[in-house]
Symmetry: C2
Subunit: 231 residues, 2 copies
Amino acid sequence: MLTLSTLTANDVDNVNIKGVPISPVKKTDAYHHGNLRAALIDSALAVIIEKGAEAVTIREVAARTGVSHAAPYRHFPDKNALMAAVAKEGFDLMVARMRRRMAAFPDDPLQRLKFCGIGYIEFALDHPAHYRVMFGPGQDPLRASEALKLSSAASFQTLFDAITACQAKGVVHGGDPMAMALSCWAMVHGFSMLVIDGLVQTRAFHSALPAMMDGLVDSLYFGFRPDREPL
Amino acid sequence: MLTLSTLTANDVDNVNIKGVPISPVKKTDAYHHGNLRAALIDSALAVIIEKGAEAVTIREVAARTGVSHAAPYRHFPDKNALMAAVAKEGFDLMVARMRRRMAAFPDDPLQRLKFCGIGYIEFALDHPAHYRVMFGPGQDPLRASEALKLSSAASFQTLFDAITACQAKGVVHGGDPMAMALSCWAMVHGFSMLVIDGLVQTRAFHSALPAMMDGLVDSLYFGFRPDREPL
DNA sequence: AAATTAATGTTGACGTTGTCAACATTGACG
DNA sequence: CGTCAATGTTGACAACGTCAACATTAATTT
């Protein structure tokens, strides 16, 4: 869930107060912005964080960036293209987070797999606005740009590679790695979405998030069979 | 993924042809519709199926129902309330599907749990438009009506009860049923969302959906440990 | 049966949206 | 210095969500 406590400094461009209309940011009286495309993406993300992806408007994003309402159309064919750029950035950041978490265990593939998944969930919960855009209904993978497809595929590929590395070491069973990767992905994606949408908190789960994540790991490694060793 | 082959008769109110503007349905020249609230929900669902939840407009829904653009405001305070009504209906249908699947195994709690999850996924994949609205960003659980909260909670409760029944019979391990229910829910929700959003097909998974579901069940029951019996 | 009230529908309007065309400004290039 | 391309602005359009005021009809009360 997006709360002030889950925000990081990297998430926030600025903060507006409820009921106070935004004053357009005046850029430095120069006609050419110089880096408008990137600035628009940053502003869009700020609006997503504050108000949700569905509240983003091209006009507000332009105003926050200090340009007129039609300027974005010089850098993005339409609104959806701007949102797709936000999504691509999110995938790149998420893969970086997954890989950084894995890097702490260079010689232990099972831990690498575990922290690959933990990195995924941490990113999603630290950047719920980004995550919602990355996996929102507005993103049709069949119409995505090649750049976005590559960024999106990298997250699954990272997970898949972590599983095949475990199989090579013999620390997981030797079944179909695609099916195993799908199970992992479904689990981490489903959990992330449920928490972001506030569906977990509303059921008063009594565990902290780390304990919930441990529960997911436990379920995936040991399964539900009654004859397993207790955690 | 929404295709003509996955639609059921219950999904479709009518079908429009691309490029052909909708002609407003003229109702029977009566001033009072008589059942407008339900008709608006049906029309909204039809638009969601055809164009996606984000393309729904109050004006188009009203036109398809044969009333003026302001008539919906006599039955719903705003657009989001209409979408929430669509979501509630979806939860009710989903829980009915889950329970109907479970009913085939009155004396086998493990099969009941398995088919509870399968019923969940089947509903989501048979009714992707409904499912997207049910779990979309537009639905804030903290602001949901009591009716919607109850309908939403019923799906989790059904899953939770299936797990505690398994524990009572000793066919799953005796850990925290809440954590186990969360793992199940994350798995079925994540899988459903990934398929609906087209993220699974684009990775060329070579299994049919039933085999994919078996893979999820396998992962959740047996886990990834290498010392388990092969499926 | 008539009058009154409530429910429900319509018309028109407003502010905002996404997006486009035409024009304006400035940086890059020859 | 002139030309061109990139990029920004202004203004306009159709459509949106939602509201107020009005219109119609069903239900209720007298």
